[in-house]
């Protein structure tokens, strides 16, 4: 555990000069994930399944 923490600490020291870019890229990545297009057809099929069944069952 101590070794791991030590390693992470040193890794952070190594990455310190690039962290602004790193965090900016991570923010962009998160923002893109949030706005990423989700296919609409499966949502429609799921939403309408019960209604469709009610219509076709008669």
């Amino acid at each position: 555990m101590t070794t791991l923490l030590s390693f992470l600490g040193e890794l952070i020291d190594v990455l310190a000069p690039v962290t602004p870019t790193l965090f900016q890229d991570l923010e962009n990545l998160v923002a893109q994930k949030k706005t990423q297009y989700q296919p609409v057809t499966p949502q429609i099929e799921q939403q309408d399944a019960a209604t469709l069944k009610a219509l076709q069952g008669k």
Binding site: L11, L22, L29, T41, D48
Partner: protein, 147 residues
């Protein structure tokens, strides 16, 4: 020490090349607009079809009358969903007129409800306005051409 540098370099490479988001800032927006418009239509369909099925259950509408009206409209909605999900040039061209057509069919289908003295679900009016706004300038086949 070497392992640390390897890890750091790998992380940097990931951030700088592999993990950097592609520059697709403008593309998803129009597709999302289309998906939102389609969701309006689907909500209207669901409200109408559900009301019709309930009216059948209550004996207000003849049994078996709702399916032939609303199931074909559902098929068109799924087709429109496929166009939105595909979103290539052909799909972008076809979608606005298809949405207008679905809305026209849906409004016609409301006759089943109004004949039974039932009110048209508010979602239909919302969708009508939304599709008019979405497709007005995009459906170029309006000038008397049949779909």
């Amino acid at each position: 020490m070497i392992a640390r540098w390897v890890a750091a370099i790998a992380l940097c490479l990931c951030v700088c090349f592999g993990c950097t988001p592609a520059n697709t800032a403008s593309a998803p927006s129009a597709q999302q607009d289309a998906a939102n418009a389609l969701k309006l239509v689907n909500d209207a369909w669901e409200a109408s079809a559900t009301a019709c099925a309930a009216a059948e259950d209550q004996g207000l509408v003849a049994t078996g009358k709702c399916g032939p009206v609303f199931v074909p409209i559902y098929d068109s909605i799924v087709l429109a969903g496929n166009l939105v999900d595909t979103w290539d040039a052909a799909a972008q061209e076809q979608l606005p007129c298809l949405l207008k057509q679905i809305m026209t069919d849906l409004v016609s289908g409301e006759k089943v409800l109004t004949d039974a003295k039932l009110t048209i679900p508010p979602a239909v009016l919302t969708a009508q306005a939304g599709i008019e706004a979405f497709a007005a300038s995009l459906c170029l086949a309006d000038a008397g051409a049949d779909q």
